[in-house]
């Protein structure tokens, strides 16, 4: 009941959307109503693709949520905002696969990479030989992922905002056009009925 009073302002929206992305080993996401209002305190249910429920959480005051990746499967994230508002977002297996392998690479890469990093400046004459290629790969991969994540997160958010934008003027005018077109069709048929 309290939940409904809190979210009563949400009732006027037409559509709720949810958007989520993977960052490291957590899933971040946000829910929004059309018109830009945040979906506060809405229930989030995470399913895997076999329809098994993985976990439940709630969005915070900013309409954001996060949870650790529960399992290495594709996920379907469902947002329930009450009063008949509901939205879904699917995170494909590839997204999680990537980060999971990177994570294992990090696990393998971090401990040996530190001594390697320390030794590298001393042996400037022959740095390539000092670091064996596998370690180097791990370091580079880690750095690249970190940098990429930094760059990509704002982009992901931008895409989310774009996906959640309200109807454009083209769509509105198109809809009105359809209605008047239908009016023409109706008048045509009724005038034919009259003639015959």
């Amino acid at each position: 009941m309290l939940f409904f009073i809190l979210s009563s302002g949400n009732a006027m929206a037409h559509r709720v959307t949810v958007f989520a992305w993977v960052e490291g080993d957590t899933v971040l996401g946000e829910g929004k109503f059309s018109g830009g209002k945040k979906a506060q305190n809405s229930e989030i249910i995470v399913w895997d693709l076999n329809g098994k429920e993985r976990l439940r959480t709630r969005t915070n005051k900013k309409g954001e949520f996060s949870f650790p990746i529960p399992a290495k499967t594709a996920m379907r994230i469902e947002l329930i905002a009450g009063m008949g508002h509901k939205a879904e977002w699917t995170i494909p297996l590839e997204d999680i696969d990537d980060t999971a392998t990177i994570k294992s690479a990090q696990d393998a890469g971090i401990p040996p990479s530190e001594p390697a990093g320390n030794t590298a400046p001393k042996q400037t004459a022959n740095p390539v030989a000092a670091i064996d290629p596998e370690q180097l790969e791990a370091i580079v991969e880690k750095a690249v992922t970190k940098a990429l994540n930094k760059k990509i997160t704002p982009l992901s958010k931008m895409v989310a905002d774009l996906a959640q934008e309200g109807p454009t003027i083209n769509e509105i005018l198109g809809g009105i056009g359809y209605i008047f077109g239908l009016m023409g069709v109706a008048i045509y048929f009724s005038s034919r009925k009259k003639k015959s």
């Binding site: 302002g9 037409h14 559509r15 009450g82 009063m83 008949g84 809809g175 209605i179 239908l182």
Partner: protein, 219 residues
Amino acid sequence: MHISEGVLSAPVLGAGMALALAGTAVGLKKLKEDKIPQAAILSAAFFVASLIHVPIGPSSVHLILNGILGLMLGWVAFPSILIALLLQGVLFQFGGITTLGVNTIIMATPAVVCHYLFAGFVHKPDTISYAASFACGFLSVFFSSLLVGTALMFTQESFLEVAWAVVLAHLPVMFIEGLVAIFCVGFLKKVQPELLPKWSAAKHQDILDSKTKMVEKQI
């Protein structure tokens, strides 16, 4: 008040679809040729109305306009609202295709009910017709809220809780809709009263009234 896809169970969706089709069939049968443009314009107004947001306090509300649409059109409200909701669903992703029937019922049934309740009062003197218009705009949204509660009752939440929450959330809209209805009826009465429902009956009544007055005067 658009119920999203995947919220309702299949029997509710099916029942909504069947009832909406029946209502639309009745509406199309009652749609006379000279009413087609009016129905289309009101359908377009309904289609656009939900995009106009009126800020109230921390949140904003949008117009629904099903009251005034029903008042003007009666049963024809069903096809008009169905088309408008279909386009909103396809173009804006409001509601959805599977929930189209249920959403049509939610919007159009109160419209028809309000037509039968209030259309007879529109051509009465100003105070009565304005009061009827306000009640029409107000109650159509109120009935719609109750229907949302009814539709959701079968799936997840208890009727009273949902209905109460939806009514509470729509209280400001009810007042605005009432005022908009007064404005529309007042304007049409001044400019083109023949567009309002039951015009011929009201005119007939007027003639009868003036005749009795004449008779009274003569006596």
